[in-house]
Symmetry: D3
Subunit: 247 residues, 6 copies
């Protein structure tokens, strides 16, 4: 793995000239994660997963984007949100830069629900315009599956993972010092009957920003979750690498 | 100082309700800095300065933007550039978010020459539209002055500071492990007669990306430079804090 | 059901003043559907489903949009495509118009895969800006489920429904005169290993534009499919109607 | 005439390969037309005229756009308006699609006053950018002339044709079931002294949305009007066909 | 008449506080006008007419815009063109500025064919958005009529007025020193059969940029033309002034 | 010097074919300059300087843009402001036009502080996109230096030059009839502590719009100032002409 941030330009020139090169971009966010998890939870998680992916592929790890499209949590102080269009523009600009430098593939490891739409917009516009370098956006593949397997507390909603046992477990594995067990609260906000059917601010639904029960979280579970998501991500990436003939 | 990334939303709620709060945003870049400095040199420098500023002011330190408007170095592999409009949009979105959360002032510590224009665009548009929260952009105030004082090697051009003795000194102070003294090269590219008069790619001017002589760089000089820029920044910020009545 | 196109403005004034009113918009496309199905297949299907929905809800049926975001089939003559941004703008303008007229809810019955992303963009931007009237986009809920039940031929890919037994069945039910059984061809294009993982033109994958086997299609199957999608759509709509307090 | 909507892609491939092909696009609107005419009056009229044009030229008839730029009638319930920019974008996208498919000419039969400006914008931008395929926008050529000839009631303003004897006659010819003679009202709103000199909402001028007297309308007059507009349209189209060397 | 350019701000404050104030903006262009007329012909003409209008109304004369949307003549050296969008933006910004200053009406005296469309776009968008201050765009009302009366040479096309007897006469009246009679050439370019039906570059049609015969031009005719256009303009303006209740 | 406005297209064709041609564009503004100077002060000054530059270089003088980005003075009646984006668009369109006509260099003589940012944006975007013809923006080089030399009254702020002794002197030299000595007022508004550090409306700072003391102004000083700025401008232009190989 090469970390782009601490490399020099001749380092990257050498990597690119040695063969088809994959870049991995963690795309995080800065939004409320309850009273017990830090605001950059999404960034740390996507960075940890991206790092493992880059290590497995001997790929180039890009520095993280630490802000995302998080209007739905804007009412919680400390949430700092980019607009949908800005998130899309960041992805498009980075992809265009890597494309012209000769990278073979950009993998975006997306850590925030609100970034899904703008990242897809960016990627589809590139495809429709016939851009050379493909971009693959991954939204934690396999997370729900492994969640079903390791979770002891119920989901606040199927697949909804926000400041709950899953996220807390991952953070205990990645960055235990930022987790505050003494502030664990359990909240299962009453969700509107059409939750998940159309975009909706999370902010109005609960009091604490927690959607579930963090109490059963453990670092071991976190490591299990991360390993599964990394493995599923690698499977997906390898499919695309084969599709474009670099694996 | 409160680091936003590792805080929780109730932490920030408490800070904001305690009185007028200043936020400090390091805006970096990812561009070539010769064979001996890392691609994220601008980010690390602006982050170090922003951190000292935030500490002095007991302000909220925001996570860094690690990409900037660096088209002029795009020809060097590893440079990853955002467009002028994207840099402006990032600043505008973050400012709007902090404004609606009730922050009193945003200070942007800009670490890259190419970000100056888009950051000013963002800030002027906010002012012209009558936005409440002011934004102050700082481009390393006092850097040329302290450079004149500590530099032993000549400038490649007056005030031009790129992978030279100054930047290398700062990096030796901030992050010595990322500096490669064994790759030090000296280059004084021949500059066009109107250098600095109009925008121009740096990439075509030299071979190595170095503009000067890094050999005389020391960590001690770096600390001296950083301290001076921090002090000048604080003076500037205090002027604005007085102007808006929070100091 | 009130058909907006053939109503007069006093008719609509009366409907709106009688209580919360739902509008239903079929969003189609004009793209290749093999040698045996017409170019407006997506429009006819979404219109048929939207009509049944409007009838069941006593809602206002809007005229169809007969063009969609179909760049992926642009290489087939007769495909006429709108851009992603134009599809989003159409949805946003119509929603804004209905919102200011006092409608309670807009349901978009989307008939084309390529419209999913722009319709979601439109809807999320409305939500993020705090618009009053909600918009619910439906992408044929339950289609894969009923497909699994009625299909005799294999899927070209899981859930991929293009000019195959399912679409041909629906068209036999809706508009048999436009179906050309004498031109039925069977094609199972070899799909790239990462099919479905990232946006990709369908046009390059096969010869005929058919993805499956239309030969087992029947009008009876078509009616069964349509009824299931309508029923699932109504369930979804009722969830949103309850969420906004109009059911 | 080939109707694009009910054709298949091989049909269109064959048409295009047989020689220079003209496409005809009806551009309608969804706006109030008094208590006696349906909201889609403009769409039905432009579609009828476009169909006759396409038949006469053996051209390809495109599906109608059933929404237009009708902000001036937005205050009447049931009017659903697109913005000026969206109408222009629709025309530009369709033209670009047909251009890349190899069509020789696009004729837009515009049925709504509010679409004139955006359609011209779209067409001029194409011309200024040097696009290959020309686009000809027709705004019912000859309508005022034939109106002067057949009308028995006075104009509400010279050339102003909205829910009056002319439009009612055309609708009696095209779609009698949608006309409600029992709701005929006569209204000659007092017009501001500078009516027609600058853009102005129709909505504030009258009570009923009628601008004239529909009582003398007959289907026979409608057929006469339509035939005249079609003939004048064909004359105009032939001029352009000769100009570009396909007639 | 008050000339805004040479006034001071207290002068304008006094004018505005004395009662409803009309502003008059000449919108010109910089484009080829044959070998005998200067490139700023359109600007000088619109300025002369605007000045007479402002004098008659005791209105405020704004400084001229000396560039217009003249892509159709871009192939002639010396033509300098703004885009359609830029012309519209200039008009919108100036109108917004005057609106917020309290002017009662802006009259735009448009001197270039290519500006018609963007000026109408600007004005319609203002109307659709409900802006307070109306804008009236005048495209030399009565010009064709007076041309028919005074012209001795034939029109190159009905109403087409470019570097011909009419424009040359006006320039002899306004600015005789800029007219070069020794370079008079007569050219009646063969026009395509659909000339005037759709946007088309003038540049490709002739050799000299003249569309007609300047030889019969006289200053007396020019004065007659200008007086007629001014009179017709005043009639139009008075209609709008009555419509908005300031006359 | 060739004045573009009064030239004909064959004149410009001949100039361009004779060798590398420089164009000079005065970019002014229409904003308050106290009770004693006209609203178009910036335009007249930039035009006078541009004219002398063009004469010295035998260059082509373009007609002035008489409006600028002056939101900061919008509260003073008579100020008419373009937006930042419109100023940038004007510069970009003119540059593109001259570029495609074959000019070798565009020099913009900027007369208004508010235009600096948008002109730089325009110029940088051209550079980043690899446009052929360079654009050099000059903001009165040497003005502060000569001001320090000739001024008898103190500066309102270092380098701040608005309706003061310097501007009044220049206007006495350029256009004495527009200067009203009988209305001279002296005002040294109290400036906020961070004046000049971030964009701020001038309008709120003083009463009269004067920033200094116009009483010591003389035409002789004005001529001295103008001559110095012209000389410094020529030095800068010659640097760029050498850089691009045309001097």
């Amino acid at each position: 793995m090469i970390e782009l941030s601490s490399s020099t330009w001749p380092d990257i020139r050498d990597v690119l000239s040695a063969g088809p090169t994959v870049a991995v971009l963690p795309f995080g966010a800065l939004e409320q994660h309850g009273p017990h998890l830090p605001l950059d939870t999404d960034t740390r998680q996507s960075e940890a997963i991206a790092r493992d992916i880059a290590a497995a592929l001997d790929a180039v790890l890009l520095p993280s984007i630490e802000y995302g499209n998080t209007w739905g949590n804007a009412a919680f102080p400390g949430t700092v949100s980019l607009s949908l269009d800005t998130v899309a523009a960041i992805c498009s600009d980075i992809a265009a830069s890597l494309d012209s430098s000769g990278f073979a593939l950009l993998v975006v490891v997306n850590g925030d629900y609100g970034n899904r739409l703008p990242l897809q917009v960016s990627v589809e516009k590139r495809a429709a315009s016939g851009a050379r370098m493909p971009v693959l956006v991954l939204d934690y593949p396999g997370l729900t599956e492994i969640g079903d397997r390791v979770k002891e507390s119920p989901w606040a909603a199927p697949g909804l993972c926000h400041a709950d046992e899953l996220e807390t477990s991952m953070m205990l594995a990645i960055s235990p010092a930022t987790v505050h067990p003494e502030r664990f609260v359990v909240e299962y906000p009453e969700l509107p009957p059409d939750f998940g059917q159309r975009p909706q601010a999370l902010a109005g639904l609960g009091e604490t920003g927690v959607f579930g029960d963090p109490r059963a979280a453990t670092a071991a579970k976190g490591r299990q979750i991360l390993a599964h998501v990394v493995a599923e991500s690698l499977t997906a990436i390898e499919r695309t690498m084969r599709a474009i003939g670099i694996r």
